[in-house]
């Protein structure tokens, strides 16, 4: 048990997932449905492995294809029929509940609310199985997760420098005007949604393989979708490292309070966190990192 390493892995993994969400969120597409994409990633891989013995490498491809299909099925009509702002948020909210409820309803296959554990491929002292994507060494996980995290930041950077970002920013400010200067609104939005959803799905796969446990309430549904949204808001939506700062902040707050008081006050961290979120949105809408950078610049 290597506690600091475990924390580092979780920070980078959630940092990666939050970054994926923020790719859309910072351009005005506030999705409450990313829990669905994470859940699809986690559950498709685990179910294919447990029931058919399909390697997570192939299962991952299936999960990504499935995610792409769902993202298109939801995204295309939303963007085509101009469902924006909080209507978009509520439609995607329905999506994440559908994902959670389907997992619970298929309890004969998925184990329902009790969750599921991928069957272990580590037999007789083996410490890793590349085919089953299971490693008992935390160092390997740190490298894997860090690679994905860096990849996520690279996507953010590439998007920042592309014409696509300018187009999307124009769309988020004035959709009709953007369309009138020749921006294909639906296509631009669909592209970023697809990228964001696929990255979140990959995050779900990593989460399932690292924790070796999946549960409909912790990988799908409204709770996890809100967790992503608020993690990003706390850290800062408009700067590259903001989502990662959000992930680090929430995790360290929870762990710090747990170390200070043990388990005597089980929800103290979420209570403080919830209160801080409200204050952040009112007084510090750019988040921790955004506000810190602003303060530095002003000096």
């Amino acid at each position: 048990m290597n506690y600091p390493l475990h924390l580092a892995i979780l920070v980078l993994l959630w940092g990666y997932i939050y970054t994926s969400w923020a790719l859309m969120g910072r351009l005005g597409l506030v999705s409450f449905g990313h829990g669905a994409f994470m859940g699809i990633g986690a559950y498709t891989v685990v179910m294919l492995w447990n029931h058919f013995g399909l390697s997570p490498w192939l299962g991952g491809l299936v999960a990504l294809a499935f995610t792409a299909l769902v993202a298109l099925l939801i995204g295309y009509p939303c963007f085509r029929f101009r469902i924006v702002g909080h209507y978009f948020a509520l439609v995607t909210l329905a999506l994440s509940e559908v994902a959670r409820l389907v997992i619970v309803a298929l309890r004969d296959q998925t184990g329902g609310s009790l969750g599921a554990t991928p069957e272990s491929a580590l037999r007789e002292g083996a410490t890793m199985s590349l085919g089953a994507l299971q490693f008992s060494s935390k160092e390997i996980w740190l490298v894997v997760v860090a690679a994905f995290w860096l990849g996520g930041l690279a996507v953010w950077r590439a998007l920042d420098r592309s014409m696509g970002r300018l187009a999307l920013q124009a769309i988020s400010e004035e959709e009709e005007a953007a369309a009138s200067v020749g921006i294909h609104v639906t296509r631009a939005k669909l592209r970023i949604t697809l990228v964001s959803a696929l990255m979140t799905c990959a995050g779900g796969i990593l989460y399932a393989q690292y924790q070796l446990y999946v549960n409909p309430d912790t990988v799908a549904g409204i709770a996890i979708s809100l967790q992503m949204v608020f993690g990003v808001i706390a850290g800062g939506m408009f700067v590259m490292l903001g989502p990662t700062v959000g992930a680090a902040f929430t995790l360290l707050l929870a762990e710090g309070l747990r170390l200070a008081w043990g388990n005597r006050f089980p929800a103290l961290d979420s209570t403080i966190y919830g209160l801080m979120l409200v204050l952040f949105i009112i007084y510090m809408p750019k988040g921790i990192l955004g506000a810190a950078l602003d303060a530095l610049r002003r000096r």
């Binding site: 939303c78 329905a94 509940e97 809100l226 608020f230 919830g274 979120l277």
Partner: protein, 287 residues
């Protein structure tokens, strides 16, 4: 399958009763949206606060049930007012999505604070209302009561909005926020009153829910999403639309749950919602 299957009929009637409960749940949220143009994501958590109030006053402090319920309604009305004053007002001129998010933060806060204060145990009021038998079918009296109160709530609210000066002012504000100060109506005051009224409706819903379900800190998540979707489906802010949508949703849940599993009923209802959104984004009876 026989068309006149008595159990199917029972499912349909139960769906109708569930519809009444959902209609009552969505009433306050819809009113707030129609007037202030803000979606309270934490609305279900306000209801949870009301349920805990009834539970503690009745079970721990042995208040009479009716008095405990009145206290709960008053407390949640106060909560609604405070929510508007301290949380919504500062972001009223910010982007609409910030208003949605700030109440989402309140959802986290209320849920966690309830866990901290009351623990995660499921708490039961210990009051069972008898079930009503009609022929071979049986229905819960609590649901009949909820259904009746929902109807009374809608009619009462309608009369209030149509027949009183305050109601007229509320409707006027919801139509044109900018011009009403010129007519001598203060929007800030009307918003405060509307928030308290929305809170009181949440408190009323809490009194009926606590008769049927155990209260626990995460209970808001189990019906919160349905309530938002009902309001959107009916056309946000449209009280009558929300009323109709509640019954449509309830039938999906009850009859879908009758043929398959309960969860599939919910899945059907949510998928139906998504499809309707694509067809009519402004809701089935949108303005």
């Amino acid at each position: 399958m026989d068309i006149f299957d008595v159990f199917l009929l029972e499912a349909i009637v139960n769906g109708l009763l569930l519809g009444g409960l959902l209609a009552l749940l969505s009433l306050g949220l819809n009113l707030i949206f129609g007037v202030i143009d803000v979606v309270w994501i934490c609305y279900a958590e306000l209801i949870m606060c009301g349920m805990y109030t009834v539970y503690y006053l009745y079970v721990q402090y042995h208040w009479p049930l009716a008095l405990a319920m009145l206290a709960a309604i008053a407390l949640v009305a106060l909560l609604g007012f405070a929510l508007h004053q301290f949380v919504i007002r500062p972001v009223l001129s910010a982007e609409p999505i910030n208003q949605l998010l700030v109440t989402g933060g309140m959802l986290f806060f209320l849920q966690a604070a309830a866990t901290l204060a009351f623990g995660i145990e499921f708490r039961n009021l210990g009051v069972t209302l008898p079930s009503v038998r009609v022929g071979e079918m049986s229905f819960s009296a609590a649901r009949l009561l909820a259904f009746t109160l929902a109807l009374a709530g809608v009619v009462g609210l309608w009369l209030f909005l149509r027949k009183t000066y305050l109601g007229t002012a509320i409707r006027a504000i919801s139509q044109d926020r900018a011009i009403m100060p010129l007519m001598g109506v203060s929007p800030a005051r009307i918003f405060g009153i509307t928030s308290a009224l929305g809170g009181a409706l949440a408190g009323l819903a809490a009194c009926l829910l606590v008769l049927q379900y155990d209260v626990h800190p995460a209970i808001g998540l189990s019906f919160g999403p349905i309530v938002f979707l009902i309001c959107v489906l009916g056309g946000l802010g449209n009280l009558f639309g929300g009323f109709v949508a509640a019954f449509v949703f309830a039938q999906f849940i009850a009859v879908g749950g009758f043929f398959f599993h309960l969860e599939w009923g919910y899945v059907l209802a949510f998928v139906f919602f998504i499809v309707v959104m694509f067809w009519r984004p402004q809701g089935i009876l949108g303005r």
